[in-house]
């Protein structure tokens, strides 16, 4: 067995355009997903703050 035979066997593996495209599409999808989660976290945080603010105001008014 020739030493280069391992190299030529591995070099012959095809890296198709579809594979490249799938890799890049996957990265884009994951990037968008991360952004969406980030935005969701911010909006959820904001709505929580608003909710607690109104609860405080309501409690204050109820006390009066």
């Amino acid at each position: 067995m020739d030493k280069n035979s391992i190299k030529s066997a591995v070099t012959g593996i095809e890296f198709t355009e579809e594979s490249k495209q799938r890799i890049f599409d996957g990265i884009e999808r994951r990037k968008n997903l991360k952004q969406k989660i980030h935005i969701k976290r911010i909006t959820t945080g904001d709505s929580c703050n608003c909710h607690s603010f109104f609860v405080c105001v309501y409690k204050y008014l109820a006390k009066k």
Binding site: M1, I6, I13, S19, I23, I27, R30
Partner: protein
């Protein structure tokens, strides 16, 4: 996150090499694509600083092999039957195809060493640094891997 252009540049440079490592380690196209994707995402999020071109290449190879090992560990716990045939540029009845089929059957510890030595052209001490194992272990694994390959190919010691 790193800029898209730098990631694309890195992918053009090393994408094919990483993909082929993943194919040999995982024996599955989709898993190989997923792993290359994971490596690129790791590269984008970690933003590692490299001293040299060789340093960058070694980092990418190490991350790829580690992620492949993670996937293999998962499949050990969740077995499945692989029915996929890997696309190659040579005909199915060629000797290259036989060698590839036997290479894919080898244990991963032999595959990684054989890949780095014969395909990427690393020296034993460089492989030991990349895989974080001793040089003598690398030599032993190379020897055993070669022996296994020859045995499965039906080649005798002198051939």
């Amino acid at each position: 996150m790193l800029e898209q252009a730098s990631v694309e540049k890195m992918f053009q440079k090393y994408g094919e090499m990483l993909y082929k490592i993943c194919i040999v380690m995982l024996e599955n196209t989709y898993d190989a694509e997923d792993t290359v994707q994971d490596v690129l995402i790791k590269y984008m999020t970690k933003k590692p600083l490299f001293e040299t071109y060789e340093h960058e290449k070694a980092w990418l190879i190490r991350v790829t092999i580690n992620l492949c090992k993670d996937k293999l560990r998962f499949y050990k716990q969740h077995p499945y039957i692989n029915i996929e045939t890997i696309k190659t540029t040579y005909p199915e009845d060629s000797i290259d195809n036989q060698i590839l089929a036997i290479l894919l059957e080898l244990p991963s510890k032999y595959k990684e060493v054989l890949l780095l030595y014969y395909v990427e052209g690393y020296k034993c001490f460089e492989i030991s640094k990349i895989l974080k194992i001793t040089e003598s272990t690398v030599k032993k694994r190379l020897e055993r891997g070669r022996k296994l390959l020859k045995k499965k190919l039906g080649v005798n010691e002198c051939g």
